[in-house]
């Protein structure tokens, strides 16, 4: 069978096909069909010829097979130093091999490549930091994912995730109406505790356009309310947009390049329409990478920059605390041992390591913050990045990977892990469920709400 009804080379184009795919519980039929899926070798080779540029070709060529990257990879470390988990091996045996064979690879090979791309690498880019030649296997693995996606070899959940972006311009089935209505709901719920709280919608020329993760709307809208409370308390001139509000991109994890562009265009359109002075996104790592770091290239922006200055939430928090827009009641600072999860996507890959530590300096009583080891740009991925958290097929491999973070946290002795990234937050939650080490985990917002001084005008009268 060349093309399956569920597993095929076509991206999701309609709501109906998205629902049909969702209806295939755990992707049982989908993966069955994948076993029969033909590889379009001509397409594969012509795509490589068009898109595999000199950087990746050079990287593949100059890799000295020295093995210096081995110890940098958490999957190598937690899998008993399995040589097949050495980053250089993982990319040479997949992308390298496809190129060597000019695309002449079969279905079995593609299955192996899929497992390597999604179950042995989170695209955390840590190996790139340790390669003496500066080769970034994470970047190459992302590229490989794109080739695999175009051939239909992609984990079920990510085919769905990319489809969600195509249909809803959001990672979940959350419509624009759902989003605005949920914000109104949160204002109703919180305005008596925080007088004057509301969500300005589609305000033109505001200082801040705030963008989010659809899961906040779907499952924990408290996060939206908390963001509003903090902006309000800081006296910011801010707005949300009724369209183009989703910062995340499962399309990036899936390797669906076309959907990546659709998604980021929707946010940039909102920016162009509302003309804010800057855009600030929620506490999410990959979303920042997708929309702020890589997005400009997907959107074809010549300057390689988004239409306005874009900041990660941690940058705004640091600014607000530094300038006194938000003030912390010193009595309410964290007085228990706590640690911080450095998100790969905005720390290692976007340099925000000092910013998050500046925030810790304001929020945590001196002596109670304990850094993980290693930390900052050397920190390990949470173990759930790159889409790994959501893939049922590779649950076992994901759970083994969580051990690296578990052991890092245990070594700090901290019971509270501050994780300003949705993916990290999920992975740390899961590792507690899996390994029960007795920790709590939190985004910044709920912690901040408890410790800031609420301005007089926001305090209820009664």
């Amino acid at each position: 069978m060349p093309e399956g009804t569920l597993c095929n080379k076509q991206p999701i184009q309609t709501e109906e096909s998205l629902k049909t795919l969702l209806g295939d519980t755990s992707g049982v039929q989908y993966y069955k069909q994948m076993k029969e899926l033909d590889v379009d070798q001509d397409l594969l080779w012509s795509t490589i010829k068009k898109t595999c540029k000199s950087r990746i070709r050079t990287w593949l060529e100059i890799c000295a097979h020295c093995g210096m990257c081995a110890e940098s990879c958490l999957y190598y470390l937690v899998n008993n130093r399995d040589p097949k988990q050495v980053p250089a091996y993982k990319i040479q045996s997949t992308l390298g091999e496809i190129i060597k064979r000019k695309g002449k690879v079969d279905n079995d090979f593609m299955h192996m490549a899929m497992k390597t791309a999604w179950a042995k690498c989170t695209c955390c880019n840590r190996c790139g930091l340790y390669c003496p030649n500066g080769i970034d296997m994470g970047v190459m693995m992302s590229y490989l994912r794109g080739l695999l996606y175009a051939q239909g070899f992609v984990p079920w959940e990510l085919k769905i995730g990319a489809g969600m972006h195509r249909i809803y311009q959001a990672q979940m089935d959350v419509t624009n109406e759902d989003f605005v209505d949920t914000c109104e709901w949160m204002a109703e719920e919180y305005e008596e505790d925080y007088v004057g709280l509301h969500f300005p919608v589609d305000k033109e020329g505001a200082d801040i356009l705030y963008t989010i993760n659809a899961r906040e709307v779907k499952h924990y809208p408290e996060d939206l309310a908390e963001a509003a409370v903090l902006f309000h308390a800081a006296g910011e001139d801010w707005t949300i947009t009724s369209k183009g509000w989703e910062l995340t991109s499962l399309a990036m994890f899936a390797g669906d390049w076309e959907a990546c562009k659709i998604q980021v265009d929707s946010v940039y359109d909102a920016i162009e329409r509302l003309k804010p002075k800057r855009m600030i996104g929620t506490e999410c790592g990959h979303a920042h990478r997708a929309t702020v770091v890589e997005g400009p290239y997907w959107a074809g922006r010549e300057d390689g920059l988004p239409p306005v200055k874009c900041m990660h939430y941690v940058e705004w928090v640091a600014e607000a605390l530094r300038t006194g827009k938000l003030q912390i009641d010193p009595d309410k600072r964290i007085k228990e041992y706590c640690t911080l999860q450095d998100s790969c996507n905005y720390v290692r890959n976007h340099g925000l390591k000092k910013i998050t530590r500046e925030i810790m300096g304001y929020m945590v009583e001196p002596g109670y913050f304990i850094d993980m080891d290693p930390n900052e740009e050397h920190n390990f991925c949470c173990g759930g990045g790159g889409g790994f958290n959501g893939i049922g097929l590779y649950r076992k491999e994901r759970n083994i990977g969580l051990m690296a973070k578990r052991d890092q946290i245990l070594k700090t002795g901290a019971k509270l892990v501050i994780a300003p990234c949705h993916n990290c937050w999920d992975a740390i939650r899961d590792l507690e469920e899996e390994y029960k080490i007795g920790i709590r985990w939190s985004f910044l917002k709920p912690l901040l709400i408890k410790m800031i001084k609420i301005p007089e005008h926001m305090q209820p009268k009664e």
């Binding site: 969702l22 209806g23 519980t25 755990s26 959940e157 769905i160 995730g161 990672q171 979940m172 709901w185 109703e188 719920e189 008596e192 505790d193 899961r215 779907k218 499952h219 924990y220 809208p221 408290e222 499962l250 759930g384 958290n389 959501g390 893939i391 049922g392 649950r395 993916n423 999920d426 939650r429 899961d430 507690e432 469920e433 709590r440 408890k450 009664e462």
Partner: protein, 307 residues
């Protein structure tokens, strides 16, 4: 009044008494009953896996699973549904408190009925995910009254006749009063007992109040109750007012016992849902835990009845 009752249930024994109260009220007020069960908490990032709240197992979510759980719930409440035709059953996925609040808002529910906590920490997967309990979060944020039946003994078998209204003189208490009055006046031979406790527990009142000060406060509170509430009870004579001093939640529970209350109505003031305090934070939570009858909690989001 109470045209649209939402029975939020885990479909386990913990909710049996709440279910009985919900259907009892529905029969009395000819209400529509929505039996609502949040079957699972989303997990695994964006995946379709959920943790079933009753079994604690990870299961892949699909329409079949939802339909199967819906049928199970219907079977669990088979007898009630048979005798009360105007009932529907729905299930949802999400964090229980959030989905219950969402359903209530979307469907214009005018009374949420819930059982107490399941007490079993291993059973409630959601507790590990978000601190605080479902009950706490719903009583804090619901836009309509919430009726909680926590203790197994805490359910009326023979209908409602003795209603205790506890007041702290807040705005929410004024709304609670309206509900109490409305329920009392719509039931034949109902008694309405209005109660306030002067809080003499430290640190609220300092370490020691003189007996004169306490008695002054008691007098003041009685006068306030007459002015605020009794004046509105035109034509309804079967009421009493009492003001005691002590620890408010203890006093109200004692008072309710003395009056053989079938229902306590009071307002909920707590601002924070604190993970550290678990559910023992406010007077309301203490009363819910201890009272031997159902408790209706009314928060500041609940709008007043149109008289």
């Amino acid at each position: 009044m109470f045209k649209n009752i939402l029975l939020a249930t885990s479909a386990t024994k913990a909710c049996d008494h709440a279910a009985r109260v919900a259907f009892e009220l529905a029969a009395r007020f000819q209400s529509h009953v929505a039996v609502f069960h949040v079957l699972g908490v989303p997990s695994r990032g964006f995946s379709q896996m959920i943790v079933d709240v009753r079994t604690g197992e990870s299961v892949p979510l699909d329409d079949d699973y939802k339909a199967w759980v819906t049928e199970e719930i219907k079977t669990y409440y088979e007898n009630q549904i048979k005798s009360h035709k105007d009932t529907e059953t729905n299930v949802a996925v999400g964090f229980p408190h959030r989905e219950i609040l969402r359903y209530a808002r979307d469907n214009k529910t005018d009374l949420i009925v819930m059982g107490g906590s399941t007490e079993d920490p291993d059973l409630s997967g959601y507790k590990k995910i978000m601190a605080g309990t479902t009950l706490q979060r719903i009583t804090k944020s619901a836009q309509c009254p919430v009726l909680i039946v926590n203790r197994p003994a805490a359910s009326f078998w023979g209908g409602i006749s003795s209603i205790v209204f506890g007041t702290d003189f807040s705005k929410a208490s004024d709304v609670s009063f309206q509900y109490a009055k409305k329920i009392a006046t719509s039931i034949d031979d109902a008694e309405l007992h209005m109660f306030h406790s002067v809080d003499i527990s430290s640190p609220h009142a300092g370490l020691s109040l003189s007996q004169e000060e306490i008695e002054d406060q008691l007098r003041e509170a009685r006068a306030k109750m007459r002015k605020r509430y009794v004046s509105q009870l035109k034509g309804f004579n079967n009421y009493s007012i009492d003001v005691w001093e002590g620890l408010p939640y203890v006093e109200i529970v004692k008072y309710a016992r003395e009056k053989q209350a079938d229902l306590i109505i009071m307002s909920h003031q707590a601002r924070d849902v604190s993970p550290d305090k678990e559910r023992l934070g406010s007077n309301m939570e203490q009363v819910i835990m201890r009272a031997t009858c159902p408790v209706i909690s009314i928060n500041k989001h609940t709008s007043a009845l149109n008289n």
